[in-house]
């Protein structure tokens, strides 16, 4: 069984996000970028499936600019066998990504798709669900446990107030939640080997996917700063402040 893993290049979770001075977007110039942490968990699960002899091949796929090659190499250092970059300089919307993954599922004869539940930059939580809808295959989202048996995968999902276990027929789409596993560190020899693993580049047109920008980013603002509280000396002062300054009574 071949496993396809989605890998997204996002701003590193340690980095404080800054908004551009003209409010058109967040500022990514020279900031540290990294693999989306949920993608890392999805990848770890796929690699463990391969180590357990369940998966035969792990293919890491990213949709983005050529810079995403860095994250694909990182994915191969962590155990992916090869990588595919769907290169685009446009903003890749969730639907575009889902369409590209759907094509690759077909082309590569994928048995299981492992995705992060969402990316920490746009927080959409949509690709897995859209991919399931586009391909007509079952989905197990917010997974905290994944067990593949024969032609089925059992997924324990984290839902409000508890856990829900679903059994899906393969091929299936699973999205990883935080507690699914703890990703490993890459080893130096594996990082070197990853440089020689195959990385193919394609694009939407070659995949036969038509993309239409259906979203427009109008403006990005910094959350307003909460102003500090004040101590009042007396009840009278409190009442006058509530009346005159806060104008709430």
């Amino acid at each position: 069984m071949k496993v396809l893993v989605g890998v997204k290049r996002v701003i590193d979770y340690n980095v404080k996000v800054r908004v551009k001075s003209d409010n058109t977007d967040v500022d990514l110039a020279n900031t540290k970028m990294a693999m989306n942490p949920f993608c890392e968990i999805a990848l770890e699960e796929a690699v463990r499936l391969k180590e357990a002899g369940v998966a035969t091949e792990v293919i890491a796929v990213s949709v983005g600019t050529s810079a995403s090659q860095e994250q694909l190499r990182a994915a191969m250092a962590l155990g992916a066998d090869r990588a595919i970059l769907v290169e685009t300089d446009e903003v890749a919307e969730p639907l575009h990504v889902a369409k590209a993954f759907a094509k690759l599922m077909e082309q590569e004869d994928i048995g299981l798709v492992m995705l992060g539940k969402q990316s920490i930059d746009s927080d959409n939580n949509q690709v897995g669900q859209m991919l399931a809808a586009l391909t007509g295959r079952p989905q197990g989202t917010f997974a905290s446990k994944v067990v593949v048996e024969g032609e089925q995968v059992t997924v324990t999902r984290e839902i409000d107030g508890g856990l829900r276990t679903v059994r899906l027929a393969l091929p299936a789409i699973v999205t990883a939640d935080l507690r699914l596993n703890e990703p490993r560190f890459a080893k130096l020899p594996d990082i070197m080997k990853a440089k020689r693993k195959p990385l193919a580049t394609t694009n939407f047109a070659d995949l036969g996917v038509t993309v239409k920008q259906s979203m427009r980013l109008d403006r990005v603002d910094v959350p307003s700063v909460r102003s500090g509280g004040v101590k009042v000396e007396s009840v009278d002062e409190l009442i006058s402040k509530l009346k005159d300054e806060a104008k709430v009574i």
Partner: protein, 539 residues
Amino acid sequence: MRESMEFDVVIVGAGPSGLSTAIRLKQLNADLNVCVLEKGSEVGAHILSGAVFEPRALNELFPDWQELGAPLTTPVTKDEVYLLKGEQGEREIPHALVPKPMVNDGNYIISVGNLCRWLAEQAEGLGVEVFPGFAAAEILFHEDGSVKGVATGDMGVSASGEQLATYMEGMELHARYTVFSEGCRGHLGKQLIERFNLDQGKDPQHYAIGIKELWQIPADKHQPGLVIHGSGWPLEDASGGFFLYHGDNQQVMVGLIVDLNYKNPWMSPYEEFQRLKHHPLLAQYLTGGERVSYGARAIAKGGWNALPSMTMPGALLVGCDAGTLNVAKIKGTHTAMKSGMIGAEALAQVLADESKAWDSTFAQLFDASWLKEELYQTRNFAPAMHKFGTLLGGAFNFVDQNLFKLPFTLHDTSLDHAQLLPADQAPKIDYPKPDGKLSFDRLSSVYLSNTNHEEDQPCHLVLKDSTIPTGENLTRFAEPAQRYCPAGVYEIIEQDGGPKLQINAQNCLHCKTCDIKDPAQNITWVTPEGTGGPNYPNM
């Protein structure tokens, strides 16, 4: 048995000197197997510098750096030097009276972090293996005592030393030669200097702490290419100076450098810097702007007199790990790069011909270089400042650098950590509260450094004797670590009715000031798990 890998040359630290060593090695012999370890999460993540950059070494390394897209975009257009008289006034020093090495014609305002990111790309293009996120934690030796290589630190070890689920054993990297380019006060470099007595017959190394902020300022106040240096207020008991550079994209780099031989244990370099920004000379540019980043790093400024031997069997120290900064120019990047390039040339020779002696091959190339000439000519600059103070020392340096080359050498044999007066003999300093516009508290600053360390890991600030911080250090010096640490790592708290030192190691900026300034030399900085530490953008 740890796993091991073999290389011709292993380089520790992807800064200007380490990357220049790697690049020059591959330029001279493309077959050499060269790797660079970097403890930061990416190349540039731990790099912090002013910086006004003199392109001399880069011109030699890549004569076509312009076509290759090196990030040198802002030439210095105007160069001003001031002496601050107090909270308000200042006096501009006329250009003609500025010591020659401080004149910046032909130089560029850059982010050294971005320069390193670019150098790493060039290095990788030449076939160098660059490994960010891996800290060299230990030096390995052959039985004959020569350096065999380094080992990376174990990953996934808990605070109490147990192996976690993610445990990964460190790895040995063996090399014919190992190059240490960790920057100022590298923790392995420090061990090598001691083990091989590299500083024998030299003056003690002297240090300063540099604290820097990056600001985005309003367009109408921005003058790309403007360089401002100065000294005087607010440093009254200590020597040092400030800088304010107008880079590109409406960004300004502002910082204060404080010599770590200061005497008053109440002194806080962090708060000196915060109040400095309120001086009208600086505030005129910063007011209305927004702080983008913050960081700090120690600087080795002993210059020629304190420069240790850089070679030892199987290894080489380069850049600020040795101490090649030219303090008269207040610049260390070009000299660090050059030291690495000379090292690479020597390494290429001895790797090609094993009958050549390592020490003398390096020494010959070094002695014939402009780096030696530059460091030798400015050897009196820092000792003069220490001996005579900023004003008279400055006058001495004007004479020495502009008029005559004085035929004698000044020495400064004092130790930075031994200078503190007892707290009750030094005046307390009452620092103003930060206003949240120009000045800020430590924690909101640390937040902007994007520093992070995996929480569950052994503390990387190791105390030789855990009773000293609340003993002698507290009773005699009011534990100065609380004030010299620019990241609020050290706090004295009350616990069970007594004082206790709390080490907030996750805040650490890897500046190494504690390792240098602790009066008891009781704090040893060791590398935390790889990728830990600041994530500086554009610094």
